[in-house]
Symmetry: C3
């Protein structure tokens, strides 16, 4: 059940070179690829592998077309072609619609006939599960929560009451959507818990990583817009808004009420303080701490945060600090000698 | 089923101004509030909203009472009044006592008659569940563990054997209480696992965030005292002690055997090394690394850690490091010229 | 059912001094130890406790043997002896083999007769569970995944399809093995998900902490070699390789395709960027950011990363930055005066 080179090219919006009828069955690394495998090359260091590969076809940028004599898929964006080819050749088997007999489903839940509810899942009163949605083993969908059409929840996902997940979302194991925000009033030394009355509202085509947590809003909602991608072990606090197509890598924390723009990227372990605004098209380096609003697009790094180019220049000096301190001390001594009018001997 | 302004004031320990019989039904943002909603204002930027709001009543600090002509709840601590009003108006519906038929409950577990055990929960031998406690869907309560009266465990919480949770605690989805501490002896290059024989002992009125992990003690116990609030994705290692009413924000890690005092706050992504002591009333800035004991109360920041005021002064220089290095180099050149006795021309 | 001093010494590969027939029943802290308890001392600060302890025996380094008059276990590696003695005296009760009636086990799964499958566990088609393995309550073992002999999965662990866990591994609650890697191609502003086709392959004697996440490889596999120890809340991205006997503390993130050597240690909250190589026997300080390959063994710290000894010297200067900047400014003023030929008065 492979796909011919010509058809694959057409469906991936790539050009092809070679035998249009050659059948491709799967993707593989260049080292492991056989005659019906499609190999993928990225970066210079893999180019040497081209000579040795047994791959039935290879994806290349047109500028590299001369490097391989066999069948080719050619594209200005080889990674995109690889992604599409892999999606075609390795489509996940569709979930079998139905409700596992061990699932606990409230009679008032509204579940599409073609949805798949896994073993030990719990669907509470008034929840809605859209067409073709897959609710994995042990997931808990709270009261009046809503899961959009075609969304897939892997095992052990929790979606709490009234939260909304859009269409075609993917939630990985252990993700928690709608835990209470961390909000308290203080009465003397004691914290009094502020009820967290808002929701989490997630758009379409959002992916959320394993064990990532997104808190519900305090009064309004926490909002994750369409196309956002969140990696594993990320914390999104209450009332945060994340703009369309923003991607956030693992171990990032975003504090409460912060608004992040569209098409941003935030690299691993960065932190963003609360109550600030980040413009569209902002890119944050790993481990940076965003302590103030960022009104301008661009790349930023460090703590305190600064434009990336500045950070690069300053960061290299961190490793020279002790040397700088010693040179400063030496200068002070020399200058003291000079200013005392004494002879100065180096 | 609202509450009159006068009754709300009385129950929230606030003053009121306006119609004592006006019925308040819920809290809302000023923008969304209607005639039976209570609006809440914090900070200058929200004050403009007061003119436009349709809120039936508003909570204000007495100094701002002149800014709004309608019904008021007045308090020196508006946030506390909001918290209490929201708790009254939006009380969570009480869980229905009973044991879901899919729960797996050992015959030797001691479960209060009015506790609520959710679907697919597992209660092992000898565990105790107190009066009014709620054990969410899929929670696992280990052998001889104890959950205090009125505590609420959201779905997918794990409490391992012999751990103790006090009264009125709230544990959010995916929290893990009592995983093994990270303890090994080394035999050449190989790690040999040290049995983790202690417990986690959690006091009353503690809240623990989603996917937060607290390891059991190696020999003694890991202790979380009364009133502690822990946000999401926090790691508490074995034998840590956290003092009363301390609050810790998301993504913080506390290494083993460290003792943290009472009424401390630790902001997001901070780290605390093991085997140190932090005094009462210490406040740690986000992303700080606490590498030594802190015997004095106060605010601290940075890595290496320093008093907050010092950190502020030093941190601003981080963005000037390259400039400082260039100025240092220029000084060295100038001084060399001068000391060589040559004419110095700027 | 205790063990005599002589037998314990033999089984722990320690020397003993005192009554060979004295029965030891458990380990305890020196403060709490009674006449049949084995106490353990590490570090100077505990030595004072030796005079007061009622412990029936104590583990000491031979150099300290003179400090205690009672029964002794003596070893150059007291921690290893403690670990072994605790393992003998406090062996976890063996799980009772069998399948809990609420477990959902596919008919094609291959489960050893002496494995123990807990309540509400889910074992999918073609999965293999080895001899003596324990699958905790609510665990989900995906299609064709494999759990080696003697491995123990605590509650709520997810192992996704085709992933492999070796023998004698321990996985703590909420660990996720085999979530999708964070891989996308970009088409204009939109992210297109790259199928994650590889596996996670975990060796023997590996321990994985609570809520730690390990992503499956994109094409090849993510590999965790024998003897690796991972603490809680760690993120391991796709295609990472972690060498034998490496230990990683909590809250660390390792980005994609990075290779970490054997016998490394990485302390808490450190981050490692993607596509780099770290040599064997590298030790990374807490909160460090490894931004480049490390070809040489040794200790490293900071961000930017540097050898530990350099970092120590430089880090102390961080707290002097403002003072350095002021001294630099003062020097500039003095030198300007001097170079202008004017009188210089301090």
């Amino acid at each position: 059940m492979g796909v011919t080179l010509a058809e694959l090219a057409s469906r991936c919006q790539a050009e092809y070179r070679g035998d249009p009828h050659w059948v491709i069955e799967r993707v593989a690394t260049l080292e492991q690829a056989g005659p019906h495998d499609l190999g993928f090359v990225v970066g210079d260091k893999y180019r040497d592998l081209l000579d040795a590969t047994a791959a039935g076809a290879v994806i290349l940028h047109p500028r590299d077309a001369g490097r391989f004599r066999g069948n080719l898929l050619l594209s200005e964006n080889p990674r995109l072609v690889f992604t599409r080819a892999a999606s075609i050749l390795h489509a996940a088997p569709p979930a079998v619609p139905g409700r596992h007999p061990t699932a606990v489903i409230d009679a008032t839940a509204d579940i599409a006939a073609d949805a798949a509810i896994g073993p030990h899942a719990v669907i509470e009163a008034g929840a809605r599960i859209g067409s073709g949605a897959v609710i994995g083993a042990g997931c808990v969908i709270g009261r009046e929560a809503s899961i959009g059409a075609g969304s897939r929840l892997h095992p052990h996902v929790t979606v709490t009451e009234r939260c909304v997940i859009g269409a075609r979302c993917i939630l990985h194991p252990g993700a928690v959507i709608g835990s209470d925000g961390f909000g308290y009033a203080i009465d003397g030394a004691r914290w009094e818990k502020t009820p967290q009355l808002g929701r989490v509202v997630i758009g379409d085509d959002v992916e959320i990583g394993a064990n990532t947590t997104i808190d519900r809003g305090a009064l309004g909602d926490t909002v994750i817009e369409n196309g956002v991608k969140l990696d594993n072990l990320i914390q999104i606090a209450h009332n945060v808004v994340i703009g369309e197509d923003t991607a956030i890598a693992a171990c990032v924390g975003i504090a409460g009420s912060t608004r992040i723009g569209k098409r941003c990227t935030i690299a691993g372990q960065a932190g963003v303080v609360g109550h600030i605004e980040i413009a569209d098209d902002v890119h944050i380096l790993g481990a940076a701490v965003v302590s103030h609003s960022i009104p301008q697009p661009g790349r930023y790094a460090g703590f305190p945060l600064e434009p990336y180019a500045d950070w690069l220049r300053n960061a290299v000096r961190m490793r020279q600090l002790d040397e700088m301190a010693q040179r400063l001390r030496a200068l002070e001594k020399k200058l003291k000698k000079l200013s005392e009018g004494g002879d100065y001997i180096e």
